[in-house]
Symmetry: C2
Subunit: 134 residues, 2 copies
């Protein structure tokens, strides 16, 4: 199994206790925590950790492809350690964010998913280059 420090080294990133702690907290955590949640949680082990460090770490690890920042609400960034291609489902009542398989994109799968999850809204955002910017 890959240790946090192995993964950091593999990406040419300095191995620091804070980075490893953030990664460890996120590892296997499937509930897409906000930066503040990560900060509060890691703070228990590193009382002097700064919010800026968590922001920096998330940005750095995201650039290295080890994390993903998920856009599910406009106010707060949510962090996902599942970097495979997938989408998201957000519960309008409890706020839970779940991963959803990528092939949901076919109408057939959307229909099935909608049936089992009570999907009320599907939001698709595409990014790329528009005609003028190609």
């Amino acid at each position: 199994m890959k240790t946090m420090s192995t993964m950091l080294k593999a990406n040419d990133l300095a191995v620091t206790a804070q980075r490893a702690a953030v990664m460890e907290f996120l590892h296997g955590n499937t509930d897409h925590p906000s930066v503040d949640t990560i900060y509060k949680r890691v703070k228990k082990r590193f009382p002097y950790i700064s919010r800026a460090t968590v922001y920096n770490t998330v940005k750095t690890l995201t650039r290295a492809g080890l994390l993903q920042e998920v856009l599910v609400q406009q106010d707060k960034t949510r962090v996902d350690s599942n970097v495979s291609r997938h989408h998201h489902f957000k519960c309008l009542r409890c706020g839970r964010i779940e991963d959803v398989p990528y092939d949901i994109l076919t109408a057939k799968h959307v229909g099935e998913h909608a049936k089992s999850y009570h999907v009320e809204e599907v939001r698709v955002v595409m990014e790329g280059r528009c005609k003028q910017c190609r």
Copy 2:
């Protein structure tokens, strides 16, 4: 044709000059302006308009189904006067946000769209009730 005041009345909303001005600015505007953009633009005609009024108006009109708040980036809300079911395309270079037909959701259409637009990323967010909250 529907006037702004007609639409407001039809939704049981008081007709105020500020509301009508915000609606008029948005009407036929397809570039998904931010609240700040709306504020600055409407300010030209109503120098004393407050940011809070624009926020309130956007929220009120959204609740009435006359506007839509679009989630394309985490920092700023973008407003869309097209309230029909559709998705969005964001250009990574110029930032332009374009409307995209709803039936893009079938894999076939995604493929076609991707071809003509250089789509680099497709983000889907579903909202509804999760298994525990049904």
